[in-house]
């Protein structure tokens, strides 16, 4: 049973003002959090020809990039909260540099990413494989076995494939440049059509 005063309160609450301009208030919060060293993970969605990308950075650099249509943003953010820090805030201004470099790359004006990378999410052999991959230049390709060899374990070809599949920063760490020996495309997190798109963009395939 609801008393008259309770209904009055509920009705009055519905007419209370909303928080000040959502984006404005939230970005003010993110800026202040950043100034006080509490913005551990800043993220935003960036548009691209491959669909929306979720990009996340720490004060050290880019830590995660994912295809929103392929991997649920919520799951990716929960994973970041668990593995990096729960202080995760949407802060588009904090990922401006990533957005700019990605835009330039997709427009064909950039052949090398220069933004700093935070390797927190990778360990051991995977880090070695991804670093070897990061050294493969724009428009070039390599093979799973070549990457395994550069990473120091020539026989761990399958493991190298798994490492590439778990790449937390596709596009920027160009796992799309790694193909099967003999020229087969292999696999890609985000779907093979995206791998093909990137290789075509770079002129590596026609």
């Amino acid at each position: 049973m609801t008393s008259k005063i309770e209904s009055a309160l509920r009705e009055a609450a519905d007419r209370l003002p909303d928080p000040p301009d959502p984006a404005g208030a939230v970005s003010a919060l993110a800026e202040r959090a950043s100034a006080e060293g509490m913005l551990d993970v800043a993220y935003a969605t960036v548009d691209s020809p491959l669909g929306p990308l979720m990009v996340a950075g720490t004060p050290r650099g880019l830590v995660r990039l994912s295809y929103s249509q392929f991997r649920d943003d919520e799951a990716v953010l929960s994973d970041l909260a668990r593995r990096v820090s729960p202080r995760v805030l949407e802060a588009p201004a904090r990922v401006d540099r990533v957005r700019r470099e990605l835009d330039e790359y997709f427009e064909g004006h950039r052949t090398k990413f220069e933004l700093p990378i935070d390797w927190t999410l990778t360990r051991g052999f995977t880090t070695e494989v991804l670093r070897a991959t990061a050294a493969v230049g724009f428009g070039h390709t390599t093979t799973y076995s070549e990457v395994a060899r550069t990473a120091g374990s020539p026989r761990a070809v399958r493991a190298a494939g798994n490492s590439l599949g778990s790449n937390p920063m596709p596009i920027v760490v160009p796992c799309h440049r790694v193909l099967r020996t003999g020229g087969g495309l292999g696999g890609y997190t985000g779907g093979l059509e995206r791998k093909e798109f990137l290789l075509r963009l770079e002129g590596a395939i026609i």
């Binding site: 008393s3 008259k4 005063i5 309770e6 009055a8 309160l9 509920r10 009705e11 009055a12 609450a13 519905d14 007419r15 209370l16 003002p17 909303d18 928080p19 000040p20 959502p22 208030a25 939230v26 003010a28 919060l29 202040r32 959090a33 006080e36 509490m38 993970v41 993220y43 919520e74 953010l77 929960s78 970041l80 909260a81 668990r82 820090s85 729960p86 202080r87 995760v88 805030l89 949407e90």
Partner: protein, 157 residues
């Protein structure tokens, strides 16, 4: 134990927290109350050991920030209004939905004020309200009851 991304908490509760700030700190202090609440929450967040009472935890912070701001305000000298040469500007703030009612709510003792808002407006269960107020469920129930009783007596629309 996995804490959700802080942004999820912000998205879920920002409107309610802001309304609570307007109701308990007043429309002029609401923006500050809102910012201070979220900054304090962000500061303490990684050390939280439970995730089943996040809303109660958050509103306890908001309650305390509203008290701080209220105290700070009563100590601060009040600025003298501009010379009354021109006609005073119309109030530019959006409607506060029954400002007199919220003024009455603000006159309630802290626990009753929080209890009335969280129960009547947010429909918070008594078990959660008890966590927020750091009291027993019976005490939480009494705070709601006493608060509503006073409002009934004081408020005449």
């Amino acid at each position: 134990m996995n804490l959700p991304p802080f942004q999820a908490l912000l998205d879920e509760h920002r409107v309610d927290v802001f309304r609570f700030c307007v109701a308990s700190a007043g429309p002029d202090e609401a923006d500050d109350c809102f910012q201070e609440t979220w900054i304090a929450a962000l500061r303490a967040y990684p050390k939280l050991r439970r995730t089943d009472n996040l809303r109660a935890w958050l509103f306890r912070i908001a309650q305390n920030k509203a008290i701080d701001l209220h105290r700070g305000r009563s100590r601060r000298p009040v600025a003298v209004e501009a010379l009354p040469e021109s006609v005073s500007a119309p109030d530019e703030r959006p409607s506060n939905g029954e400002p007199e009612l919220w003024a009455e709510v603000r006159r309630l003792p802290t626990k009753q004020r929080t209890a009335v808002f969280c129960r009547s407006v947010l429909g918070m269960p008594y078990s959660e309200l008890a966590q927020l107020l750091e009291s027993s469920e019976d005490a939480a129930r009494r705070n709601v009851f006493e608060g509503l009783k006073k409002l009934k007596e004081e408020w005449n629309p």
